[in-house]
């Protein structure tokens, strides 16, 4: 009986925290299908010096898709920045695949002079906050004339070390016997990488790319100092600029901004989880 009671308390706590985690998504969704007029009712105290407090609700009285229509049809700036974000993500991921995957494979499966040193560089860089490397990145980008181009955000992202480290962890668990077998069959080293390494480590690659995608979707620091031209801004810099007077639009824009990550998250939770675990724990 005592145990049952304890379990009930634990369950209530776990559910409460779960609610806190999903509530923002639900409120943003409900806000984006609420008409402007009703929404003003919710947030009137902030806007008009009226008494009382903001009320956020999970269910609108009069649901409508007006906000979505406005977002889709009359807001070129939103779309510009939405696509900037997507372009940054896709190009960073493509670059990461091209450079990061072989790099992780080389570090995990071969022994060569200097390997340890390179690995340590990667780990150290992984833990350095952006503020440490900010000036370094700026100096290089300036030298190559890349400031104020999307490349200023994409190129340093491609060589970010965390995804390489995550893939390294996965590749390390590919058994050496598999490689030896392929070698005896006469496969070249590149062939082994492409035909054995990549397929066997594909879940690790996917996990690393997922972490990288999340990072790209929400990055603020780099674009904030490397992109002065508003046309190039990602969504993350644009959203805080929408004034509360356009609450319905802002709710809707925020909701659409989370759609790519939510879709990816719900289609591949187990990969995200595996990536998170690999970032910290040696299996």
């Amino acid at each position: 009986m005592k145990k049952l009671f304890a379990h009930a308390i634990i369950a209530v706590m776990l559910f409460a925290v779960g609610m806190l985690a999903v509530l923002p998504v639900l409120i943003l969704f409900s806000g984006s299908i609420t008409g402007e007029a009703e929404l003003y009712g919710w947030i009137a105290p902030i806007l008009g010096g009226q008494e009382g407090f903001v009320r956020l609700r999970l269910f609108p009285d009069y649901p409508t898709l007006r906000n979505f229509v406005e977002l889709l049809l009359d807001s070129p700036e939103f779309f510009q920045m939405f696509w900037n974000t997507q372009r940054i993500s896709v190009e960073t991921l493509a670059g990461g695949l091209l450079f990061g995957v072989p790099c992780a494979w080389g570090l995990a499966q071969y022994r060569f002079p200097g390997r340890k040193a390179i690995l340590w560089c990667y780990i150290l860089l992984m833990i350095m906050p952006f503020q440490v490397t900010m000036l370094s990145e700026y100096l290089v980008l300036k030298k190559f004339g890349l400031l104020d181009t999307l490349a200023a955000v994409i190129l340093p992202g491609i060589f970010q070390t965390l995804p390489v480290f995550v893939m390294y962890r996965f590749f390390s668990s590919v058994p050496n016997a598999l490689l030896e077998a392929a070698r005896i069959d006469g496969a070249g080293e590149l062939g082994i990488f492409l035909k054995v390494g990549v397929p066997v480590g594909s879940s690790g690659i996917f996990s690393a790319m997922m972490l990288q995608f999340l990072e790209c979707q929400s990055m603020v620091e780099r674009p904030l100092i490397f992109l002065k031209n508003k046309q190039l801004w990602p969504l993350a810099l644009y959203l805080p600029e929408i004034s509360p007077e356009r609450a319905g639009f802002a709710m809707c824009a925020s909701f659409v901004a989370m759609l790519p990550v939510l879709l990816l998250f719900f289609s591949g939770q187990e990969y995200l989880e595996a990536g998170i675990v690999a970032s910290a724990i040696k299996e």
């Binding site: 390997r115 560089c121 490397t133 060589f159 603020v220 620091e221 901004a257 990550v261 724990i281």
Partner: protein, 278 residues
């Protein structure tokens, strides 16, 4: 001979990028940290002295330190408790997926909600009506607590997943054997589970520190470049130095921060190593 360097060829393209974008320019930053802002005059440690005696730097360093010391123990304790809870109620394991949602969604998408929640006339004061006087959350000393909550809200799921993975690695036979010998829940927890978690704790703390620097996103989006003085962090300071083009301070500051980060790593590493040995 050919075999010896094969791995290096795989690593080379990626590592060249790392060299080009991070390591080589860092040497330049090192050089700049001992040079005058304009020209190439060598000034020794003068820049470091300027930075260390700078009031804004002292404030930001103090706040950042206070933030780390507050939010990391809270996050670790809370996430460990939740992980133990989930382990106890296996049927609720699916909940951990929900906990990851705050980590997954872009910070920018939730800013609007934070604003509506934390304004002087915001929803939070509405909920607390009758319990406390309305608080202007972002423009009073409460801002610090808000930022800590924000960090915990965002990173809780990540750490629950990590702790669960750590718990999962505890061999079942040992737990069963201990239960057979009549060990109670408390003994299992303190004598088996927690000692087994000790080695993974090192990386979990490191990850918590790494992610703590990203709280700048919320702080900046909610309060701009000059927030309430309790949440003026090193990240704000570096950003502002950048906008003022104070490259000399920025270079010395980056070096100091890199040293501090490496120092913390080394310290933790040593500490955990010792624990392992004893």
């Amino acid at each position: 001979m050919k075999r010896k360097y094969t791995g290096f060829y795989f690593v080379l393209p990626g590592f060249a990028g790392v060299l080009l974008f991070y390591l080589v320019p860092f040497l330049d930053v090192m050089r700049r940290s001992v040079c005058a802002a304009l020209g190439d005059g060598f000034v020794g440690l003068a820049n470091y002295r300027t930075v260390l005696t700078n009031e804004a730097f002292q404030l930001a360093a103090k706040n950042t330190g206070r933030f780390l010391l507050t939010c990391i123990p809270c996050l670790l304790a809370l996430s460990l408790l939740m992980a133990l809870g989930i382990r106890e109620l296996c049927r609720l394991t699916w909940l951990k997926n929900l906990y990851l949602i705050p980590f997954v969604i872009p910070s920018a998408a939730t800013v609007l909600l934070w604003q509506l929640l934390l304004d002087r006339k915001g929803a939070l004061n509405g909920i607390l009506e009758g319990i406390t006087e309305p608080v202007d959350w972002m423009n009073s000393s409460a801002a610090f607590g808000v930022l800590v909550c924000c960090y915990i809200w965002k990173n809780l799921g990540y750490h629950v997943v990590l702790w669960l993975a750590g718990l999962h690695a505890v061999p079942k036979e040992i737990l069963e054997a201990a239960s057979m010998d009549g060990a109670g829940r408390r003994e299992l927890l303190f004598h088996i589970l927690l000692p087994y978690l000790r080695p993974v704790t090192f990386m979990i703390v490191v990850i918590a520190i790494v992610n703590s620097f990203k709280v700048f996103r919320e702080a900046w989006m909610l309060a701009g470049s000059y927030p309430q003085e309790n949440i003026y962090l090193l990240q704000h300071l570096f950003n502002n130095w950048f906008l003022e083009l104070s490259m000399d301070k920025l270079a010395a500051g980056a070096m100091l921060l890199a040293l501090a980060a490496a120092g913390i790593m080394g310290l933790l590493w040593k500490f955990w190593d010792k624990e392992e040995r004893s």
